[in-house]
């Protein structure tokens, strides 16, 4: 091949590729900003289920009047803004042709068209198809099987037949549903923050059983409850309840915290050699003990004296697991009575924070020294690893330990560490535009996925703790203003999605869910650690405003 032939060949290839790219792009894109002109999809929901639907071209406020007047019924109007065809009849292409939590899907078969609106897809929990690969799980577009089953049922055919012979369009809508709420940075006021904390804490107290344990995870769209349980998360939720009770002077919340702490103290406290520990079975972790210490300290300082001694005993257990380098052995074999020198995410930070807090109760210099060494270990970065400026773990407990220790054992290296981490976070924060306005301020987990609320909440716990120390340490006003701007935008994102009261039309038990924070815009489950982290961050910010 000569240079001339090669140049011609590459020119033809580039031209063909450009034409194909332009054709594909023009065909699949939809304009979400245009003035809605499409038909109205009117649905009536009752007790969390869709009971009627019609599609009209005008006058939607009078559609399905009879159904809408039924007791407890809610009429939701979604107007189609724009739509685009979905190519071919491929499972793979269909799976990747929808934007999660934003797009709906229509199917036409034998002249009939039916619609799966964003509300329907959220209700079906079909926006994410999770593909498990050993320990890794990948999200590969929407769950085509669920969507095809729902659409084919309405069309009176089989999913396979619909995929082969139906035609599909994706569409964007505007909805008159009041969820997510309209909430901007300017709306993040002290009152709004306090109200949100109260609601989140009340969610936990409402979902507490008589024995002090919680309904671990509730699915808002089915009303179902998970059978699982997790002691570190129970302890974390207890800590949040106790703090909310103390700070907001709310006796009901404090009592809920006391019941949850009594559950740990009386039912799941074990002997681990010479110490007490928290858990069940042959092996326990340091995380449960550390978070229980946090909860006990909070309750003891709120007047529940019965938690003072258990807090000090558990703190001894935590301290006994510390290694010479400041890190901890994260597990303990109850049956063999020895520590297991394995480390996992979060636990070292939790232990550092717990020891810092318990020192206020114990006055024991060993607690303070252990917390100081743990924090120092957590923030150590090798100067030879350039990537340390770009790759970060989940450091929310680290920065809370920094804030708690600042008056007693200030660590400038730790402050710089937390400031550097906060300086990276804006790169992960959604900006609108170009992101949808409802995601503005949320922490991204990838360009094709809806942001999750808990990573945003836990980062905010650290961000507010860092803000507190930055103010005390005399960090520049410009840097502090930037950090606070980032914090308020992220809070606005959380408050938009808190169930206040949430998409009640698609929830069979809305009262139970009130105040909860869901996983994301499309994962409407509330696990006990979701309100703990989001509410904990909000409470910290409210406290800072009171100082």
């Amino acid at each position: 091949m000569t240079v001339r032939v090669l140049s011609k060949l590459l020119a033809v290839w580039a031209a063909t590729l450009t034409v194909c790219a332009v054709v594909i792009f023009s065909a699949v894109r939809i304009d979400r900003a245009r003035v809605p002109a499409g038909p109205y999809v009117v649905s009536v929901w009752q007790r969390g289920e869709r009971v009627a639907r019609t599609v009209v071209s005008s006058d939607p406020e009078h559609a399905l009047d009879g159904d809408a007047k039924r007791r407890g019924a809610q009429r939701i109007v979604e107007q189609i803004v724009d739509s685009a065809p979905i190519f071919g009849h491929s499972w793979l292409v269909l799976g990747h042709s929808l934007v999660p939590a934003q797009d709906g899907l229509s199917a036409t078969y034998l002249g009939r068209t039916v619609y799966a609106t964003p509300d329907d897809l959220r209700k079906l929990e079909a926006y994410e198809f999770i593909f498990g690969l050993g320990p890794v799980s990948l999200i590969l577009g929407i769950d085509v099987n669920k969507v095809l089953a729902a659409l084919s049922r309405e069309l009176g055919t089989e999913p396979g037949e619909l995929l082969r012979h139906g035609s599909f369009r994706r569409f964007a809508v505007t909805s008159d549903a009041a969820y997510p709420r309209k909430f901007s940075e300017a709306d993040v006021t002290a009152d709004a923050v306090k109200a949100s904390v109260q609601e989140a804490a009340r969610y936990l107290s409402r979902n507490q059983r008589k024995d002090g344990s919680f309904r671990y995870e509730l699915n808002a769209v089915t009303g179902g409850e998970s059978e699982e349980y997790n002691y570190p998360r129970h302890a974390g939720a207890t800590y949040f309840l106790a703090r909310a009770g103390n700070q907001l002077h709310d006796e009901q919340l404090a009592r809920a915290g006391q019941r949850a702490a009594a559950f740990m103290k009386d039912r799941v406290t074990l002997r681990c050699g010479a110490h007490t520990c928290i858990g069940e079975g042959d092996q326990v972790d340091i995380g449960s003990a550390a978070l229980a210490v946090l909860a006990y300290v909070e309750l003891a300082s709120g007047g529940y004296e019965e938690f003072r001694a258990p807090a000090l005993e558990l703190a001894e257990f935590v301290r006994s697991l510390q290694r010479p380098d400041g890190d901890f052995k994260h597990f303990y074999s109850v049956s063999e009575k020895h520590a297991i020198d394995i480390q996992v995410e979060y636990y070292t930070g939790e232990a550092a924070f717990a020891l810092a807090r318990v020192h206020r109760l114990s006055g024991d210099a060993r607690d303070l020294e252990a917390a100081r060494r743990a924090l120092s270990f957590l923030v150590k970065r090798s100067p030879w690893f350039l990537g340390s400026h770009y790759f970060w773990g989940a450091e929310h407990w680290t920065c809370q330990a920094l804030a708690d220790l600042w008056q007693r054992a200030p660590d400038r290296v730790a402050l710089q560490f937390c400031l550097d981490w906060q300086a990276v976070n804006p790169n992960l924060q959604f900006d609108s535009p170009p992101a949808p306005s409802v995601y503005d301020g949320g922490i991204s987990r990838g360009p094709f996925m809806a942001p999750r609320l808990t990573p945003t909440g836990s980062r905010l716990e650290a961000a507010v703790a860092t803000l507190e120390v930055a103010r005390a340490a005399g960090v520049s006003a410009a840097e502090i203003a930037l950090l606070e701007h980032q914090i308020k935008r992220a809070f606005a994102f959380l408050l938009r999605y808190q169930f206040s009261p949430g998409p009640t039309h698609s929830m069979p038990k809305p009262k139970l869910l009130e105040g909860g924070f869901p996983g994301s815009a499309l994962d409407l489950h509330v696990r006990i650690d979701y309100p703990q982290h989001a509410g904990g961050a909000l409470l910290r910010y409210w406290e800072l405003g009171q100082k």
Binding site: M1, L6, W13, L17, R170, P447, F448
Partner: protein
């Protein structure tokens, strides 16, 4: 040049095989088959060139042409996938675009540039008088 192309083809085959079977998961035939074909052809031509076997130049021509064609196809598929996702999701940010572009930039030297240079060299070999 025979030695250089032999080593480069062996390296390219190695990079593609390690990348394909060591890094990329899950298995997807549309990507696996073309990349595996290119890697095996390059490996065969590398053996021929390094061992100075009589069929080495012919093997190099076959491997270069097929690598070049499939290389362009793979790059086209990646570019069109990027365009498709951009059409679906709208402006998903500079980072995602940079990562996708990096994937293309990393593939192009092995799957397009190297076979193109080999084809140009083969042509020159065929027209230059042998000493």
């Amino acid at each position: 040049m025979r030695l250089t192309f032999g080593i480069l083809n062996a390296l390219s085959a190695l990079v593609l095989l390690v990348g394909l079977f060591g890094v990329v998961e899950p298995r997807f035939w549309a990507l696996d088959v073309p990349l595996l074909t290119i890697a095996l052809l390059e490996l065969v031509s590398a053996v021929g060139l390094l061992a100075k076997l009589p069929w080495a130049m012919r093997a190099l021509a076959v491997s270069a042409w097929i690598s070049f064609g499939l290389g362009l196809l793979v790059v086209s598929l990646i570019v069109l996938t990027m365009v498709f996702l951009r059409g679906i999701h709208g402006d998903f940010g500079v980072a995602a675009l940079a990562v996708s572009s990096l994937i293309v930039a990393l593939l192009v030297p092995y799957t397009v540039v190297l076979p193109a240079i080999e084809l140009l060299w083969l042509k020159r070999q065929s027209v230059e008088p042998q000493p």
